[in-house]
Symmetry: C3
Subunit: 262 residues, 3 copies
């Protein structure tokens, strides 16, 4: 099952295309995450742009190859810029990734995230707490299938799913949680992968795996969360196809498969 | 004298409680300091949140375990958010740390800092220039005693004082001044310590000492201010009770003691 | 030719004065670049300030020794602060460096950059794409000579020119492009150098060379763009006169010289 959807060869292929095509990713992300996110994209072979200005954001998003919308901190100007950027990206046929950071803590962010999902995004990346806030008792989740939105659920194990197909991904390291904005930066990696791989489910699984395999390699080189940051960026820069083949942990998502067979 | 107020055992105890309780610290801090501050808290075992949005900040601050208010750069939205956040934190009985960055250079910040002190904060962290601007020729300092505000005066030697009791702390390294936002990050460490230690003077002395001992250990591992950053975060993450017992430099503050005996 | 304008001894002299005079540089720069820019200045021996608040920025800029105006991201508050800061700096006789980031992508930034050049700045730092947007088919470039604005054109090779005099600089490493905000941080280094060296052409050539020689030394120590960041800051901190004498690549700009002989 999983082999047909996603395997090491498809992840390595996405990595090669990232480096070959050098996609530009426009990131509307929170101030804490901006510099690290930019460096993650550059290390991987993509190019970031970051403006939040309402005058500029639509044209930056339209001319980029992918858009990240991260709701962390959600300053007023970014809130105003988000619909303009999404309209620019979608009008140009570019993928949009939504990261609804901490919606369980902010009714305003949660309402905005639901509006954005109803309008249609390419990918929703969220953890279990954010999912529970967006879809209380699972209600409303059908919007994802209706809009062909790939869902990336992060946790100790990550899961990528769309319309009942699913892949479970087992890479990563708990030390990543001791570095701010690693999850936010992953959102930008996902946007970069969707920019170069039209099968968004493969793109999403590749993005999660590339990032988390680089993290595993980096953890072996570091002495704590401080040295993990440069080591992770170096590992993303140096990541080889062989690393993916050696380290990838992926399997078909039985749960999702079961859900489909209901 | 000092032994009764603060010693290595009490600093080690605060460190153990930080790691056991994982306090959340809401940080209203300047943009330059945000990412580094978040990483310092995560390395030490606390959890940062950072939103400045006026719609969100009161609830974030109220549900956090401590609040940092840093006046560096002081953008309009942060200025508007500060009173809301302080009201949220104080309403929920949570400690508030004030860092009046560069008040000697900005009359607007100085006026705001005085208002915040008059309203009552748990801890004021400032260097000698900032103190001189806040309390010209010492005038108005009685507000600290009236509000039971712990004073942390930073410098080549640091001093923690409250109502005539005082501790002098001798750890740290001059190379820290070559890294931006180390003082700002210390403010967040202090808020984390106050969140887990009800004796705010012990908490403050512990926070200063943990941070500065980690800095000393990091300086031994680094080649300059660039490699000091990851080394400091690693040292905060790896800091052990033995390190504190080996390295702590603390003594009763004679000056403050003398002042009390007047 | 070039020896009279700029050589290793003059670059080493600028470095010595930076460390001796500890100039303060006020930076109006984009949020992604702020923390790294501050750390670059501190590593080199200068002191950054960064406030963007319209209430504060004129007095911060006037009391600083140099001003950097970077148009990246250009949030509304920074846009409002820029003319106030420039007026403050110029009123106090301090140099102003303009970095017109991505003007080719934003008509609003391009219009602002042209206005600032017409008002007179000490130095314009831009790459070829930005130059082409500012001066389509070279039109309008005479404003630089009229205002005695030093032009630093960055690229695989960098060029510093003023009124027909020119120096070509060959240091640097392509890996720098894999780290966000290296170009933005160079703008701040240039402002620091102009603050201590009244011959702005020598100052500019020194700033470019110091930064890029440090980058070359750092690349030898690092494993990728992640470890390049701490290595670069360490190299700026440790940079010695001998390093400059050993590594500097500079020559008279034949093109510019030819233009002068017309």
């Amino acid at each position: 099952m999983a082999e047909r959807i996603f395997d090491a060869a498809s992840a390595a292929d996405v990595l090669a295309r990232l480096r070959g095509q050098v996609p530009r990713v426009h990131c509307l992300t929170n101030p804490v995450a901006q510099a690290f996110t930019a460096n993650v994209l550059l290390a991987l072979g993509a190019v970031p742009s970051m403006t939040v200005s309402v005058e500029e954001v639509a044209s930056f998003a339209a001319s980029a190859d992918g858009l990240l919308v991260n709701l962390g901190m959600l300053e007023p100007e970014r809130r105003a810029a988000i619909p303009l950027a999404i309209a620019g990206a979608k009008g140009a046929g570019k993928p949009v990734v939504l990261d609804p950071v901490f919606v369980q803590r902010s009714p305003a962010r949660c309402a905005m995230a639901r509006d954005l999902l109803a309008g249609g995004v390419s990918l929703l990346k969220s953890n279990k707490e954010e999912m529970a806030a967006l879809f209380p008792e699972g209600g409303g989740r059908q919007i994802l299938d209706e809009q062909q939105t790939v869902l990336v659920t992060t946790g100790a194990e990550d899961e990528v799913s769309l319309a009942g197909r699913g892949v479970r991904l087992g890479n990563g390291d708990p030390l990543m949680a001791r570095v701010t904005a690693t999850g936010c930066a992953l959102g930008a990696v996902l946007a970069a992968c969707l920019a170069v791989e039209p099968d968004h489910m493969v793109a999403a699984a590749a993005g999660v795996s590339l990032f988390n395999i680089a993290a595993e390699l980096a953890v072996q080189e570091c002495r704590g969360p401080g040295s993990l940051v440069p080591a992770l960026l170096d590992a993303l820069y140096r990541l080889r196809s062989e690393d993916i083949h050696t380290h990838l942990i992926a399997s078909a998502s039985g749960q999702e498969t079961d859900r489909r067979t209901l």
